[in-house]
């Protein structure tokens, strides 16, 4: 009698264990079919010389990647060599990341730790800023950039665009880092002061490293924002040599038709790889260190 009951209980426990194993994986994995298959398609298409049906590749070819070593010729349009353009994008993106990290970590620390008049209204203000949709900021920004004399000035224009993009990201980055700073116990800072650090040194040597996970999160966001910038670059730059990479990509897709899928997929892959690399680098930092998260208990 007792044996039967325990056997049944054992089976139920086993069943629920298996279920507990399957369900999380299903929830996580099944929707992923969509992006993963899309990525697989992109890779396959980049190396095949005709349109892939489903995931069945055409003939294998490297030809789609010819933009790496020759000028892009698209019908009768000739585009600049891709490497200077890539350098432009890298400059914009990395500068944006660096500036964002520095400015928002300084400001986040100040808002989190220091006392000053207008502190709470500043916090409200930061959140309120996110209520303003990017659409119309774009119109106003176009206007402002011209008034600042930054139209068509090659590198100077690119630098101006970098500053603007950074500025647009900073409120959100500051807010996120503030949350991370909030989570650090006061004792840590106290210890630093006892050791004779000024506030600035405490920030730099002690607190900044602790919020590294937060830093890597905002670095990733900043990277993706900068890497994807095309509208300001396209509108403001006269010389195509100073375009950013997405402008080139977008021009090749254009408003007409998706003409050469293999070529587009190859360019897309080429464009994707730096963001993947950056993301993986950032993830490594994120995963290693025990997170001091934005938890309000």
């Amino acid at each position: 009698m007792a044996n039967l009951a325990t056997k049944k209980r054992y089976k139920m426990v086993l069943f629920s264990r298996v279920l507990q194993g399957i369900i999380p994986h299903s929830i996580l994995a099944i929707p992923l079919i969509v992006p993963v298959s899309m990525l697989a398609w992109l890779i396959i298409q980049a190396f095949s010389d005709r349109v892939t049906i489903g995931l069945i590749p055409g003939h294998f070819t490297f030809d789609n990647f010819r933009f790496l070593w020759e000028k892009i010729q698209f019908g009768t349009s000739v585009y600049p060599n891709i490497w200077p353009v890539m350098a432009n994008s890298l400059f914009l993106t990395l500068t944006q990341v660096g500036l964002t990290v520095i400015v928002s970590s300084l400001a986040g620390y100040a808002i989190s730790r220091m006392r000053f008049p207008g502190r709470s209204s500043m916090m409200t203000f930061i959140i309120a800023l996110h209520a303003f949709p990017g659409v119309l900021m774009l119109v106003a920004l176009l206007y402002i950039l011209v008034k600042l004399g930054l139209y068509g000035k090659g590198f100077l224009t690119l630098a101006g665009i970098t500053l603007i993009k950074t500025g647009l990201e900073i409120p959100m980055a500051t807010w996120i880092l503030k949350g991370f700073f909030d989570g650090i116990p006061w004792e840590v800072e106290e210890a630093a002061f006892i050791d004779g650090c000024s506030k600035f040194m405490a920030w730099r040597k002690v607190l900044f490293p602790i919020v590294k996970p937060g830093i890597s999160a905002i670095a990733v966001f900043a990277f993706m924002s900068g890497w994807g910038e095309w509208i300001l670059a396209y509108t403001y730059l006269k010389d195509p040599r100073w375009y950013t990479l997405p402008v080139l990509l977008y021009s090749c897709i254009g408003e007409f038709k998706y003409v050469d899928w293999g070529f587009l997929a190859a360019m897309a892959l080429f464009y994707l790889i730096p963001s993947l690399i950056f993301f993986l680098l950032a993830q490594k930092t994120l995963l290693k260190i025990q997170l001091v998260g934005a938890v309000k208990g």
Binding site: M38, M114, A131, F132, M137
Partner: protein
């Protein structure tokens, strides 16, 4: 004597804070205050095609939106539907995913792989993402319809245009991008709960489900508020993916996915009607601010404001 040193100390503190905040303030001034001011001014003007030709027009833009614009009611409905559905994904489903990946997946490596894969859509530039979707939903060379066929569903000829399917596409496209953000925030928050909490609960014999309900859920109240509020605002202003996939405002309207932000974009950049677009945007802003206030009331904003 005491008082003067105290005020001097305060003064030094303020100065220090100001220095820390200086770069931040400069950027905000250039990139936010300036454009915002311009936008607000624009909404009360009648500038078309060229911004430098503004002249005062009072509330005429706003009046036009509420009384004369035929399309506004429809657009409002679509926008509310859109935000509602995607929020469920971005704020709630992402929470589920975060729990799965941090709490249920034991192997660190596997969790990391899942995280990266879920972040994939967000890392792609919009045009590429759109291109991939266009391939995916293509009835001839895409994968979606064949997959659905395996399960016995017949996919439509055009996901972009046919009514119920275009709504599903709308929500899916934006959901895949938004979900990873919430997942990131929630994961970070869950991971920072001290292990001791879990150990204590398990010693007391709590089931996994109970642990989630009693420990994780309450501790994640603030992140949930943050994510919901933030995502609501983001969604109100989002149109990039919709524009990239549907191609033009006209097609989007025919498909019933014409959201407020897309309409604003259309008025501004296709028609050059900048002031009207500014007024449309300001409406979004006002609604956004009201919503934030409501959210904070519900979740208790006061505690946030306490200094550490």
């Amino acid at each position: 004597m005491n008082i003067s040193t105290k005020t001097r100390k305060n003064y030094r503190q303020y100065l220090l804070a100001f220095l820390f905040l200086l770069p931040f303030l400069l950027f905000v001034l250039l990139c936010w205050i300036g454009p915002l001011g311009t936008t607000i001014l624009l909404s009360f003007s009648d500038a078309k095609y060229v911004l430098s030709r503004m002249s005062y027009a009072g509330f005429s833009n706003y009046i036009k939106i509420f009384r004369f614009d035929l399309y506004v009611p429809e657009i409002l409905k679509i926008t509310v539907f859109y935000i509602g559905c995607v929020l469920i994904i971005n704020a709630l489903f992402s929470f589920l995913l975060a729990i799965m990946v941090t709490y249920y997946i034991k192997h660190e490596m596997v969790g990391a792989v899942y995280r990266v894969l879920w972040f994939l859509p967000r890392m792609l530039p919009t045009i590429i993402y759109a291109l991939m979707w266009i391939w995916f939903i293509d009835p001839d060379i895409g994968l979606l319809n064949p997959i659905l066929k395996l399960f016995g569903f017949a996919g439509p000829e055009s996901w972009i245009l046919q009514k119920p399917f275009s709504y599903i596409l709308l929500v899916a496209v934006n959901g895949f991008i938004g979900v990873s953000w919430g997942m990131l925030i929630y994961s970070a928050a869950i991971k920072s709960i001290p292990i001791s909490f879990f150990e204590a609960a398990m010693i007391d014999g709590a089931t996994r489900f109970q642990i989630i309900k009693e420990i994780i859920l309450p501790l994640l109240r603030w992140p949930m508020l943050f994510v919901t509020a933030w995502q609501t605002l983001s969604l109100m202003g989002s149109y990039g993916e919709i524009l990239a996939i549907w191609g033009s405002h006209g097609t989007a309207r025919a498909a019933g996915v014409d959201v407020w932000a897309l309409y604003t974009y259309f008025k501004a950049f296709a028609l050059g009607d900048y002031s009207y677009a500014a007024a449309l945007s300001m409406i979004l802003v006002i609604i956004g601010i009201i919503l934030i206030l409501i959210y904070f009331k519900i979740f208790g904003y006061g505690r946030l404001m306490q200094s550490t």
